[in-house]
């Protein structure tokens, strides 16, 4: 019997793992809890340091997983039970009802246009900066491009009636809307499991002194991605309340390296995300004054230091000192910090403040970790088998980690980690299949 693998999480880590394992000839089930694969990377505008458009490089991979003959996509689904052991895991996956018949939906969007709640529901994909309908696709390049009814918002599903007639149902020419759908469970038999459940951005309201949630022009780096993105709520213009900021401040290490939040660790990506954002502001608003407050700039990856050099050359000012508080004076925000290189407390005015929020473990990973028997590191992320030598293995044979579920990582490190997990899974699957040893065929000749 050909062995299969289960990959949990359809972000870039899960996508890459699934593609590699499938390319090696194994069947892969890719389970994603959201209606589309893509994960956090799909929310990004550009990627550092090359400024590749994130959607442009991610979309082909998303399309690839959907099209791969060896991959079965289970979107809007969650793993609810795991039994057995390596080589023979029996996994239960709950498929949540979309209330949309996937075989009929053409992704035309008439339903969302017709929805009573159109433009009223806070859109998590747009990091709460935009609004959507109760029936939605998370983003235009979604894979699969099938609509989903948000059961927590839909008037019919929450209150039992939606006027005299369902507007979405009436609007759907394909007859795809089906409110009779029920949750379904499927059982999978797999030889290896890769956990690629990703991260959450740090909740910036836990740093009240920075005024997030108080001032609308204090936003997080994820929100900046959406602001800057062509497919975002402002169509790529850096606008807040319709106004273009003149003075923009970036604040590093929000929720990272910070005992007050319990997150002692460095989140590894925020320095470069900010450098990229600072560049984007300069690119879109040439005469904007851009200041970055930091304690150490961690530009460690390939081409990162060079990018940091470039951003400073573009006129972005780096001032060494963590920001202590933000308040309002007149129309402007005032950022209080010390410039530790001058030894002086300073006040910096701003129209827009971007908090470079760190990466934290997803709370919903924990029940899954419990099901799989996985442990946590001190920082709360999933624990690998050995900090130095076994970054993708876990204490459980046949269960592997990929990407930010194991700890913060940028995209290339995530891809490498995911491919490493794929390699581990392939080795495990081939072992289970009891392949016959391929004879030592590669030596042609030896001469003296």
């Amino acid at each position: 019997m050909t062995q299969s693998a289960l990959v949990i999480g359809g972000g870039i880590a899960g996508i890459q793992t699934a593609l590699d394992v499938a390319d090696a000839g194994f069947k892969v089930y890719l389970v994603e809890k959201e209606p589309s694969v893509g994960g956090r990377m799909s929310q990004l505008d550009k990627t550092f340091p090359t400024l590749d458009c994130s959607a442009c490089i991610l979309t082909p991979k998303m399309v690839d997983v959907a099209r791969h003959p060896n991959i079965e996509l289970l979107t809007y689904s969650e793993v609810t039970d795991v039994q057995g052991a390596a080589g023979d895991f029996r996994v239960t996956v709950k498929k949540k009802p979309r209330y949309v018949d996937m075989t009929k939906c053409t992704g035309c969007g008439s339903c969302a246009e017709a929805c009573r709640l159109k433009g009223k529901i806070v859109d998590p994909f747009n990091a709460a900066l935009g609004k959507r309908s109760a029936i939605y696709v998370p983003f235009p390049q979604a894979v699969p491009l099938k609509y989903t009814v948000d059961p927590t918002q839909c008037v019919y599903l929450t209150r039992g009636v939606c006027g005299k007639t369902f507007r979405c149902k009436d609007a759907c020419k394909a007859g795809a809307i089906d409110f009779t759908q029920q949750e379904q469970c499927v059982e999978l038999n797999v030889g290896a499991i890769v956990t690629a459940t990703g991260f959450d951005p740090f909740n910036a309201t836990l740093k009240p002194e920075l005024g997030y949630g108080v001032y609308p022009n204090v936003i997080t780096s994820l929100q900046f991605e959406r602001l800057s993105s062509a497919s975002g709520p402002t169509a790529g213009k850096i606008l807040l309340g319709g106004k273009e900021p003149r003075e923009v401040v970036f604040i590093q290490c929000v929720g990272s390296r910070d005992a007050t939040t319990g997150n002692l660790y460095c989140s590894r990506v925020c320095c470069m995300i900010t450098a990229k954002h600072a560049h984007l502001v300069k690119d879109k608003i040439h005469d904007a004054r851009v200041t970055v407050f930091y304690a150490d700039i961690r530009a460690f990856g390939k081409g990162f230091e060079e990018f940091y050099d470039r951003v400073r050359a573009e006129g972005v000012q780096y001032r060494r000192g963590y920001v202590s508080e933000i308040f309002k004076r007149g129309e402007k925000l005032v950022i209080r910090s010390e410039d530790t290189l001058l030894g002086k407390p300073i006040e910096t005015p701003a129209d827009l403040v971007v908090l470079s929020t760190g990466l934290v473990p997803r709370p919903e990973t924990q029940p899954l970790a419990n099901l799989l028997g996985l442990g946590n590191s001190a920082d709360g992320f999933l624990a690998e088998a050995h900090a130095k030598l076994r970054p993708v293995d876990t204490a459980i044979d046949g269960v592997y980690l990929a990407g930010c579920a194991q700890g913060p990582k940028d995209i290339p490190d995530t891809v490498a980690h995911a491919k490493a997990a794929a390699s581990a899974a392939i080795v495990r699957l081939r072992r289970s299949e009891q392949w016959t040893v391929i004879s030592d065929q590669f030596t042609l000749s030896t001469t003296h």
Binding site: P208, T260, S324, F327, K328, R336, D339, T340, E347
Partner: protein, 372 residues
């Protein structure tokens, strides 16, 4: 010479990464030479440090914002208190501190008033002694006990507790300074004496629960007396609970727009932000408005850390004056607080800025009392 190595160990300064968050958030640093980060760095580097030339050390209000925000858990204000301690030990005690310290030792209060006058504020109120049997002991701050400007506050509190039928008492003439400010000016010996003496008196009177008028007393009992098995509450917590339990009715309306100054020792240092607001919002007639800088982002009134007795190096800029301006921006007519130090500094500032007619500083207890 200053033993910086010991200070480094004592205050865990090795954790510091010199990020400047302490100095950046310090309410005093913009107007003074005080720079907590640079102080820490000095200690880390060792070498000469001429303590007694550092007058700015007396500018610190021990509001603790520096320590609260430090990403590495360093408490810069504790270092400053430690340095003050070394200064005091050297015998060169700042002149204005001498009398309060001596009086606290001899009379049990820093206001240089007789010990036997401590209960004068309660004359005619018929307040029981806690030893006679009471569910809680009301602990009045020295300021509330002696300073006529803030004596109305404990009086109001007595009426509130009575309206809720709470059996309470005071320690009578056994009450003396809690030592919070004494510790903060660096007189740790005197503080330890007061602590031990007070604990003995609490035990003798059988105190199980202590309600304080001042956030400073609240903080010191809660956090710096060890764990003597006595429950401690600030009175705003007590009143908020009584209101939630529906223990008394408000007979009158208090028609005013009210904003609130978070005392650092209540809010920032102990996370008590909601109870004072809950009390104000529960009062009929009160329209509650927030200042922009409130709760975790509140600003010190410059009354703590011994600053009641020390002018500081820069008297031209006073934080309390700024605070009055910020309170007026909200449109409030009453600036509420729940701390005798805040009350006094803000009251002075209202006068100094010439706004005594359009902004009234009141303690929450007074406002509640006015609505009963």
């Amino acid at each position: 010479m200053l033993d910086t190595e010991t200070l480094v160990q004592q205050f865990d300064l090795l954790a510091c990464i010199q990020c400047g968050k302490c100095t950046g958030g310090c309410p005093i640093s913009p107007k003074s030479a005080l720079n907590p980060r640079a102080l820490i760095y000095h200690m880390l580097l060792g070498g000469d440090f001429e303590l007694v030339s550092r007058d700015e050390l007396w500018d610190c209000t021990t509001c603790a914002t520096c320590g609260m925000r430090c990403p590495k858990g360093v408490k810069a204000y504790d270092l400053i208190i430690g340095l003050r301690g070394q200064w005091i030990e050297s015998g060169k005690i700042p002149t204005t501190l001498r009398a309060p310290l001596t009086a606290t030792l001899n009379q049990g209060n820093p206001l240089v008033l007789p010990r036997e006058d401590r209960t004068l504020w309660a004359d005619g109120l018929d307040v029981k002694n806690v030893a006679e049997g009471a569910e809680m002991a009301l602990f009045t701050c020295c300021e509330n006990a002696y300073d006529p400007r803030v004596q109305p506050m404990p009086k109001a509190l007595v009426r509130i507790l009575r309206a809720a039928n709470i059996a309470f008492g005071t320690l009578g003439l056994d009450e003396q300074c809690c030592g919070s400010e004494i510790r903060r000016v660096g007189e740790s010996g005197l503080f330890e004496y007061l602590r031990d003496d007070n604990l003995e008196k609490f035990q003798a009177a059988g105190v199980k629960k202590l309600v304080t008028t001042s956030p400073h007393c609240y903080n010191v009992y809660k956090n710096e007396y060890g764990s003597p098995g006595i429950a401690v509450e600030h009175y705003t917590q007590t009143v908020a609970r009584l209101i939630a339990e529906d223990k008394f009715k408000f007979g009158k309306k208090f028609e005013a727009t009210v904003t609130y100054q978070d005392p650092c020792f209540l809010g920032k240092q102990n996370g008590v932000y909601d109870e004072p607001r809950a009390v104000l919002k529960a009062l009929p007639g009160v329209k509650f408005v927030e200042m922009d800088r409130s709760r975790e982002r509140s600003v010190c009134c410059e009354g703590g850390g011994g600053r009641m007795w020390l002018e500081g190096t820069n008297t031209k800029v006073r934080l309390a004056n700024d605070r009055i301006a910020q309170a007026r921006e909200t449109g409030a007519t009453v600036l509420a607080t729940a701390c005798p130090f805040c009350f006094l500094t803000l009251s002075d500032a209202v006068v100094a800025t010439g706004h005594e007619n359009d902004l009234k500083v009141m303690d929450i207890a007074q406002i509640v009392n006015a609505a009963i």
